[in-house]
């Protein structure tokens, strides 16, 4: 009985200390997290600055949205000059429809773009892909701002609603980049959000004998959540009065058109144009236009943008 009583005392002491430790952690989380909130919301340069600009300030007639292929392939200045519409490139590397939806929600608080060009990248927009959660990284910083973004985060991972109690967690992995950006001279990354890959084709980064990107033999596994948000994105654009054009930009390998069937169906249902450049013989296996097997270089991006502008003009987008 003596041991038992002593054990209870020790246990109480242990629990009190763990509770004190948790309390200290909550205070630390609030203090350091608030400081990082301030830093991340005041960054004006680098990637973080670009993200802040897109979320808080961008106002343009034409928005480019989608993955790194959007970010690196669409020369927004050229489009502004040629189409007579102010254009901004809101593409983001390793992100797709989830981030595009969140950004359109935030932009929609201020203004409604007339047109949206959406670059379709199957792995980020509707196929199952492990890396898709990366898109949440920047969204976490806007947690609590718009209910639709909070709900999106919870749907991707139900535990996010608890994890977001920690302010430090919201800055997980992005804190360093924000701090570095804070001390950089201000200035947007790229011109009107567009930042092409400089340099020439790096042959080491492609498998020359590889057949097509997304070979149908691999089979396609669709991500229901992404498809849901693909439709929600289009609904939101419609509510905001924006017209949407789907585009698949060139790819060195070429692409199995079967992978686009789901987008074709959606476009057909909603009467949206789909411009597919992925198998355009002008671009397939043409090293001079590419930086690697997936991305165009600056020269290729300008060439593609010119072709796209001509196609858009032909279709009456001015």
């Amino acid at each position: 009985m003596m041991d038992q009583a002593k054990g209870y005392r020790l246990m109480r002491s242990f629990i009190v200390k763990v509770a004190a430790c948790l309390l200290a952690l909550v205070v630390l989380d609030f203090v350091v997290g608030s400081a990082l909130d301030y830093v991340s919301s005041h960054v004006t340069s680098g990637e973080a600055g670009r993200d802040n600009y897109i979320s808080d300030s961008v106002a343009a007639d034409l928005l480019i949205m989608g993955s790194s292929k959007a970010f690196r392939h669409y020369n927004a200045q050229m489009m502004t000059d040629s189409l007579g519409l102010s254009c901004f490139n809101c593409g983001e590397g390793a992100c797709g429809i989830l981030l595009a939806y969140a950004r359109l929600q935030m932009i929609g608080e201020r203004c409604h773009p007339k047109h949206i060009i959406y670059e379709v990248t199957p792995i980020y927009d509707y196929l199952i892909y492990d890396e898709s959660q990366r898109a949440l990284g920047r969204m976490k910083l806007h947690y609590g701002r718009i209910p639709a973004i909070d709900s999106l985060l919870w749907q991707v991972d139900a535990t996010q609603s608890y994890k977001m109690w920690s302010r430090l967690y919201r800055h997980n992995s992005s804190c360093l980049m924000d701090l570095i950006s804070l001390f950089k001279s201000s200035g947007q990354e790229g011109v009107r959000g567009f930042s092409p890959f400089e340099g020439t084709f790096d042959a080491m980064k492609v498998q020359k004998d590889a057949p097509l990107q997304y070979d149908r033999k691999m089979g396609y596994q669709y991500d229901s959540l992404k498809i849901k948000y693909f439709n929600k994105f289009l609904d939101l654009a419609q509510q905001q009065g924006s017209t949407v054009t789907m585009v698949v930009s060139p790819i060195w390998y070429g692409q199995d058109t079967l992978v686009l069937d789901i987008v074709k169906d959606i476009c057909k249902q909603r009467s949206l144009p789909l411009l597919d450049f992925s198998n355009d013989p002008k671009y397939v296996h043409q090293d001079q236009y590419y930086s690697d097997g997936i991305h165009l270089n600056a020269f290729g991006a300008d060439e593609f943008t010119r072709d796209l502008i001509n196609e858009l003009k032909r279709r009456g987008l001015q």
Partner: protein
Amino acid sequence: MTFNSFSFIIIFPLLFLLYYAIPARFGKGRNLFLLVVSYLLYMQWKPAYALVLMGVTVVTYLAALLLGQSRRPRLVLTLGVLLSLLPLLFFKYLNFLNEALSSLLSLAHLQFSLPGLNWAIPVGISFFTLQALGYLWDVYYKRQEVERDFLTYALFVSFFPSITSGPINKASLVIPQLKRLRPYFDYPKAVEGMRMLLWGLFMKVVVADRIAIYVDMVFSHYVNFTGMTCLVAIILFAIQIYADFAGYSLMALGVARVLGIDLTENFRRPFFATSVADLWRRWHISLFNWLKDYVYIPLGGSRCSTIRNYFNILVTFVVSGLWHGANWTYVIWGAMLGVFMCTEKAIGWQRCTGGPWVKLCRIVLTFGAFCAALIFFRMPTVMDGVGVYARIFDFSLPMSVYFDWVPNFPFTVMGITLLFLKDLRDEFFPQRFPLMLNAHAAVRWGTCLSLVVLILLTGVLDSDQFIYNQF
């Protein structure tokens, strides 16, 4: 459920409170609680596979009971071992044996193969099977008393902290602790357990999972990277696998210790080893002790001719390779380490004599040998392993290294530096610079809180997989 998962962080405090809500005098009640929890956690993954765990437990329990009564104990042992190994062979090695057999027969222009098995391997099967077999052999060799209490024995085999990725515990260490009436609450042990849990979590999510981003990127498309990049990636992989597995083992030890139970130490700063033999006294200690006791020594160990001794070493390491996976890459990995060990023995390098510079050179050489073999451990096929070697030794390629700058590179450097400093201090200055064990509470608390902040800010918190779970 892994220790770095969000679910575990929620469930563990509940388990802790429920466990200690059972008075110490009801030792069996506590064991029953742990057994039920262990099975429930195991069944979270695939409920049906709990039957495999129960099957191995029942077979080894009954075989050990029969060993004492039978007039033919060797036969009982053989049957017990074969029956216990059956699930492991079936789930893990059937496809491998099938492919090897059909390849062999195809050499004689014969076509034969069994239907392939496309089932997931029961998690932790390699660990709990070896742990149960170790007990059976110990009973046979009379190094361990027969355990008649099924509850205690079942808990020994299925104890949740160690079931998925080890350590492979000795019955002589764990069973007496389970049978003994444990104190109601062991405060120093619980605090030590929490510290281990915290440092293990840091190793896993800050060091291992951060490095994994770079390593996975390089090795999934190694033909796109220079030889120097492949070399850096394999060095980083060595650190990744150490931080991953040692981190997991530390968390397992920590969880068990919070519940008042000590498990086998599994890692002891392996990258400060001065020889390959020394490395295996520090790396996955529980597995290599098991292999030593139940493979190497029964084969004759070192008490035989030199050639036979080398043969025993090679066989032991090849078995170790096969234990890690049913793939020729693991066999080559094991064989390479066996050859390194034999070479070291032949030239008398197993004992380290000489000054600090000699020691440093030997540490670097040992690490290099470990990395050289690790290429086959990491790559999915033998051809890929050879391909990585070819790239590393292709001097026509640019001597540049690809770095994924922000945020991975600085976070990786920070994590590795902290891990290195901690191991350096533990290895060479164990009494100096205490942080988590500092006499001043402010330093202890400050260190622990800083670690939590670092984990939250720089850890890869969405990864839910340990490398050794797959074995």
